[in-house]
């Protein structure tokens, strides 16, 4: 198989794949002599860059996918008028953030950081498949442990968990306290 043909096949696979394409999926397609996906993606990216395409290949959740380039989103939005993206509540985001950085952890640990009951919001996040049960803790009651899913990575456009923005250290927080109070919080 010629190199150029391989490139075309991978381009077709990226176009058709319902989820980010990764090396193990490529192996299923090519049987034995699967080419190295990252090398081919690099070539595709160079090609699209040179030819100034309106889309690009992104790395997300350990795989590659086509996405429109950010600069063209105003035009794409005119075409796709109902954004199906789910908007997460503050409670959901706080809980997700805690799980993302400290997983696997139990509901009790999440609640002790947030200071409120989290059973409802965790249930929602599980059913939306942003969180999963990642096992059980040793110790009394063997509580369920929560972890993030691949959908979580895709939703936030992350390749790996280590791509999460760095969690600020406690010593850095004092500087942030200068930011003023949020006036939207108060109602008449």
């Amino acid at each position: 198989m010629r190199k150029s043909e391989q490139l075309q096949i991978v381009e077709a696979l990226l176009f058709a794949s319902p989820e980010p394409l990764n090396q193990s999926r490529l192996k299923n397609v090519f049987d034995e002599d699967a080419p190295k996906l990252s090398d081919l993606v690099k070539k595709l990216r160079e090609k699209y860059e040179k030819e100034k395409h309106g889309f690009e290949v992104r790395k997300v959740a350990g795989g590659y996918q086509f996405a429109t380039r950010a600069e063209f989103s105003p035009w794409v939005k005119r075409l796709i008028q109902n954004p199906s993206k789910l908007k997460l509540s503050a409670a959901a985001l706080e809980s997700l953030a805690i799980v993302a950085y400290k997983q696997p952890l139990s509901r009790f640990e999440i609640e002790s950081i947030r200071g409120v009951d989290c059973s409802g919001v965790l249930k929602t996040l599980l059913s939306r498949q942003l969180l999963k049960i990642a096992g059980r803790a040793e110790g009394p009651g063997r509580p369920l442990l929560y972890g993030t899913t691949r959908d979580f990575l895709e939703h936030f456009g992350l390749d790996r968990l280590s791509d999460l923005p760095r969690l600020r250290e406690i010593t850095e927080l004092t500087a942030a306290e200068e930011s003023s109070a949020d006036p939207e919080r108060a109602a008449e």
Partner: protein, 243 residues
């Protein structure tokens, strides 16, 4: 007082820590030296407002009110708690750490929100999986089943199971020794006894079980032997004539 200028609505906050953080930021308080009397007063006033407007107050807010008052009381005590090195323990330390930890993740949550917003600006060549596909192709559907789903189904199944009618339990007196004697007394003139005849005498399961155990015990002590002529045939118990 600032809190009276406008009323603060509790349901705009993600819990008591969020509310405290709001006071700290609004009044530019020092997180490392929280003016506990002031913040307690602000907090309780806010709760009172919520109560007088007949709004339900979540339990967490009440717990925090108690915590604040306990800290305030401890600060007033002439004899402070000392740690192992004889240093004075600040009664506020636990709350302070909790607030800082919460701040970190509140911060991280807004970072995530920003990431999601950026991500929603990009459009992917991913087809929405239609529901018909999932039904026609059970394999696809199964793939999406998580442990959580299974647990939910199990719970439903448990809740839907038929309600059992209460039954009265009688304690049946069936002692092993009595049963052994009963068996030994049941042999016919030739010293034989059919297993079915023995077992059919009993009405209750526990009696059958004890009779069976008694039989096993009789075999063990060589008082009886058991024969079977054909596979699945009835068992024949023979009394061993003691030499």
């Amino acid at each position: 007082m600032a809190a009276n200028a406008y009323q603060i609505r509790l349901d705009n906050f993600e819990g008591p820590l969020d509310l405290l953080l709001y006071f700290i930021r609004r009044d530019e308080m020092d997180v490392y030296d929280i003016p506990i009397a002031k913040i307690t007063e602000e907090y309780l006033t806010t709760l009172d407002h919520a109560r007088s407007s007949n709004l339900g107050i979540a339990g967490e807010f009440v717990v925090m009110a108690a915590t604040l008052m306990r800290i305030k009381a401890k600060m007033l005590l002439p004899r402070p708690d000392l740690d192992d090195d004889g240093e004075i323990i600040d009664p506020r330390i636990e709350l302070m750490l909790q607030l800082q930890e919460y701040t970190r993740f509140k911060d991280a949550a807004s970072n995530l929100d920003f990431l999601a917003e950026e991500e929603s600006q990009l459009f992917k060549r991913l087809e929405e999986e239609s529901i018909e596909d999932e039904v026609e192709n059970p394999g696809m559907y199964l793939k999406a089943v998580s442990l959580f789903d299974l647990a939910a189904h199990f719970k439903t199944a448990l809740e839907n199971r038929p309600v059992m009618k209460p039954i009265e339990l009688h304690r049946e007196i069936a002692s092993l020794d009595e049963q052994k004697n009963a068996i030994l007394a049941s042999f016919d003139g030739e010293g034989k006894l059919r297993f079915s005849a023995l077992i059919n005498k009993y009405e209750f399961k526990i009696e059958m079980i004890v009779a069976f155990l008694a039989l096993l015990d009789l075999i063990r002590i060589n008082a009886v032997v058991v024969y079977q002529n054909e596979l699945f045939d009835d068992l024949e118990i023979h009394k061993v004539v003691m030499g």
